[in-house]
């Protein structure tokens, strides 16, 4: 159990770093152009939506991982 918790922490850390990599390499350089003054709003909006999707994906992965690591221990 205790090893499982340390492992869970470590996987969370790896996922944070991986998610950061995706954000910086894909989301960072992304920009929308051709809409004049609205360019930055559209770009920010897209980045926000993409980041929220990443966070939701992170939560889903962690939730599945939690069930997998602690399946014997979580009774509820």
């Amino acid at each position: 159990m205790k090893v499982g918790l340390f492992g869970f922490l470590f996987v969370m850390w790896i996922l944070i770093i991986t998610g950061g990599g995706i954000l910086v390499t894909i989301l960072g350089p992304f920009s929308i152009s051709g809409y004049g003054d609205f360019d930055w709003i559209l770009t920010s909006g897209f980045k926000a939506i993409f980041a929220i999707i990443l966070v939701i994906a992170w939560i889903l992965v962690m939730s599945k991982l939690k069930n997998w690591i602690f399946r014997k221990d979580i009774k509820s």
Partner: protein, 330 residues
């Protein structure tokens, strides 16, 4: 760098001794007023006073005033205001039991000084890969950061000494990370948080003489969140806080709504005959960090606390590694 050493030493001494000297009279004052709750993890009917928030906020404010005399920076003002607002919100919850949504929503107010005084940078730094400029999204991060850190520390305040002990490890890890990143001024501004927690731990450790209450936990969490934003170490701060994040994550994914602990009917933990802690089989009870630690068998309150501290040290080491990785971004 050398000119920062004297303010750092003075502020740390002031932070530690303000809490160390102020807490005993606070305990007596609270005993006289009968502001106490039962320590449910003790065999005998032991009452413990709360909240310890007033001495914690006093330690933070006095030490940050000392630093302000030396540096006169807006960052210090923001730390003081944010921590104080978090304290007031927690104190309201200490005096009058509020609904589950009160603290997360009200703590958004504590984040506003950071935005109003413009003491933030819209670049979010990640280890290895560098930073990303997200001006609009970053405002959302600021608004969510303080409620998340405040409530996360509050949610781990379940056993004697755990919240303050955990905060010692997490905040010193964050200070070391700031030194590694050569953000010396913010590192020094962050140090009082660790020393305030250290002094409070003396009275909070098992057997507790005082509980921090919502006012204490939210003050510590609010200041931690503010340091994360002002020091541009949001990711490192999240890593150092991972065991508490796991606790909140497990709780929320099992309960599936934002709710106060006291509103939950099912008990995640019960006591054995010799009053060790034991995980229950109650399907209506939330999954928590303590419940998972106890899944392999009953443990004493002290043993569970020590396991949480080991997890905190592990996260602190990961946070320091993350700082090195951030400092050497591609």
């Amino acid at each position: 760098m050398t000119e920062l050493i004297i303010p750092a030493i003075i502020s740390c001494i002031v932070a530690f001794f303000t809490v160390y000297v102020m807490t005993p009279p606070l305990i007596k004052f609270l005993q006289k007023r009968n502001f106490s709750v039962r320590d449910v993890n003790k065999k005998d009917h032991i009452m413990v006073v709360r909240p310890g928030g007033p001495s914690i906020i006093a330690g933070i404010i006095t030490s940050e005033i000392v630093l302000y005399i030396f540096f006169q920076s807006n960052e210090i003002l923001v730390i003081m205001i944010t921590s104080f607002i978090a304290f007031v919100i927690g104190y309201v919850d200490d005096r009058k039991v509020m609904g589950g949504w009160f603290k997360p929503v009200a703590l958004v107010i504590a984040a506003t000084p950071i935005i109003l005084l413009g003491t933030y940078d819209s670049n979010l730094s990640f280890p290895l890969f560098g930073s990303v400029h997200i001006p609009v999204l970053y405002l959302g991060i600021i608004i969510f950061m303080i409620p998340i850190t405040g409530n996360t520390i509050n949610s781990i305040d379940v056993l004697n000494g755990v919240a303050s002990g955990f905060m010692i490890i997490a905040s010193f890890s964050l200070s070391i990370a700031l030194f590694i990143l050569q953000n010396y001024e913010m590192a020094i501004i962050s140090l009082p948080l660790g020393f305030v927690s250290l002094a409070f731990y003396k009275f909070h450790k098992i057997p507790s003489k005082i509980f921090p209450g919502d006012s204490g936990a939210l003050t510590l969490g609010g200041m931690y969140g503010a340091i994360a934003i002002l020091g541009h170490v949001e990711i490192i701060a999240a890593v150092a806080l991972l065991p508490a994040v796991i606790n909140s994550f497990l709780f929320l994914t099992s309960v599936k709504r934002i709710v106060e602990h006291r509103q939950i009917k099912g008990k995640p933990v019960e006591h054995t005959e010799d009053f060790k802690l034991k995980a229950t089989d109650d399907k209506t009870a939330p999954v928590t960090l303590v419940r998972l630690i106890l899944a392999s068998g009953p443990l004493s309150e002290k043993q569970v606390g020590h396991t949480i501290f080991k997890l905190a040290i592990f996260s602190g080491i990961l946070a320091i590694i993350t700082a090195f990785m951030t400092g050497t971004s591609i």
